[in-house]
């Protein structure tokens, strides 16, 4: 399994973002569909380790994702918002991100 969650829940204060989700996602392409407020973004943030679950567990590639940056070597994450600097070229930005993945300068460029 690529992703496995057990009784996964997330609250933002008094507001429930995700409630008791148990799901497994196999290898391949999987789409996540739902109405506004269904918790799609919250689920994505939880399975990419951006948010800490209020309750339950998330495992990605067999390992817990929260607080496990080493696992990010094996994950590609595209956020829903644009992220770029006006002062940097696209190539500079991508190169610096690749270097964060551990590629040496010569290979990153």
């Amino acid at each position: 399994m690529i992703i496995a969650t057990e009784h996964l829940s997330k609250w933002y204060g008094q507001v429930s973002g995700l409630n008791d989700v148990t799901v497994t996602v196999p290898a391949g392409i999987t789409g996540l569909l739902g109405p506004n407020g269904a918790g799609k973004s919250t689920f994505m943030k939880l399975v990419t380790g951006q948010l800490r679950p209020s309750k339950g567990q998330v495992r990605v590639l067999g390992e817990p994702i929260w607080g496990n940056p080493a696992l990010y070597f094996r994950i590609g994450f595209c956020p829903e918002q644009d992220a770029f600097y006006e002062r940097m070229t696209g190539l500079d930005w991508v190169t610096s991100l690749v270097r964060l993945n551990g590629l040496p300068t010569d290979e990153a460029t």
């Binding site: 933002y12 951006q50 940056p69 600097y85 002062r87 551990g102 590629l103 040496p104 290979e107």
Partner: protein
């Protein structure tokens, strides 16, 4: 070479740099971006003007009897680092204000923290960017003045008589750099606007200094110096350089204030530097 449409996703199989060096990627990128800016170069050049003045002073005192009274003393090195506080303030604003605020504005924090990079490494990288430039305008010129004194005087007599100056300069510059860098980073993490951060930083420094002066006049007590980072740093400087000074508050109290300031900054950074901002 196979056609592009035949190339699917492939895992990178080349070498990777060992973990624990990601902070340097952040720090280096920040430094390179800043030192390309003309205003940063202008500030850094201006920050070395007091060094030139002091160098001339040391040269003249070593070579001309008429101005021997200008000979360097431990007080001179303490005053030099005190004067550099103006440039610490300017450098902190010009370089530090946007360090995290710009990342928040560009939505880059989420990208950074989805890489194999811990929040500690991210903050350490930002800290390195600002701290290295601050050290460039404090510790480095002060140590070079010591070297110049030896060269111009042609002896190590002054240094051997005041050997404590090496650790004193290093320690006080470290305190200056840490306090300014942590405080500025904490403020930078609280906003998406570098201008607002700069105003907050300047406001806090000037407001606390003014508050101290007002409370001192009203209560006739210098204990209020603890609310003013600038006056607290003066106490620390006098203590480290073994000078009597005004000692508005006990040295130990000043150390506690500095520790509390850095701890509060770290707490703010811990709460604010997150890939996803959760508003409850």
């Amino acid at each position: 070479m196979s056609p592009i449409h035949d190339q699917g996703y492939r895992h990178y199989g080349g070498r990777r740099e060992p973990q624990g060096r990601r902070w340097w990627v952040i720090g280096r990128a920040g430094l390179m971006a800043r030192i390309r800016e003309r205003r940063v170069i202008a500030v850094l050049l201006a920050a070395w003007l007091p060094f030139l003045v002091r160098a001339v002073q040391i040269y003249a005192s070593a070579n001309f009897q008429q101005v021997a009274f200008l000979a360097p003393t431990p007080q001179m090195f303490r005053e030099f680092l005190g004067q550099q506080e103006v440039f610490i303030f300017i450098v902190s604003i010009v370089i530090g204000a946007g360090l995290i605020a710009d990342d928040r504005r560009a939505n880059a924090l989420q990208i950074y923290l989805s890489k194999p990079l811990t929040r500690v490494e991210y903050i350490a990288g930002k800290l390195v960017t600002l701290a290295s430039v601050l050290a460039f305008v404090t510790w480095l010129p002060a140590m070079l003045l010591l070297v110049l004194q030896m060269l111009f005087a042609g002896s190590t007599k002054f240094l051997t008589e005041h050997l404590f100056l090496i650790p004193a300069i290093t320690l006080f510059a470290l305190v200056q750099v840490c306090v300014s860098a942590f405080a500025m980073l904490a403020l930078s993490s609280m906003s998406k606007s570098r201008r607002f951060v700069a105003m907050m930083y300047a406001g806090i420094l000037f407001f606390t200094a003014a508050m101290y002066q007002a409370l001192r006049q009203i209560t006739l007590s210098t204990a209020w110096a603890a609310i003013s980072p600038r006056d607290t740093m003066n106490v620390i400087a006098d203590g480290i350089f073994r000078l009597p000074g005004t000692r508005a508050i006990p040295f130990a109290a000043a150390v506690v204030v500095v520790i509390v300031l850095i701890a509060a900054s770290m707490l703010i950074l811990e709460r604010k530097v997150r890939g996803v901002e959760v508003v409850t």
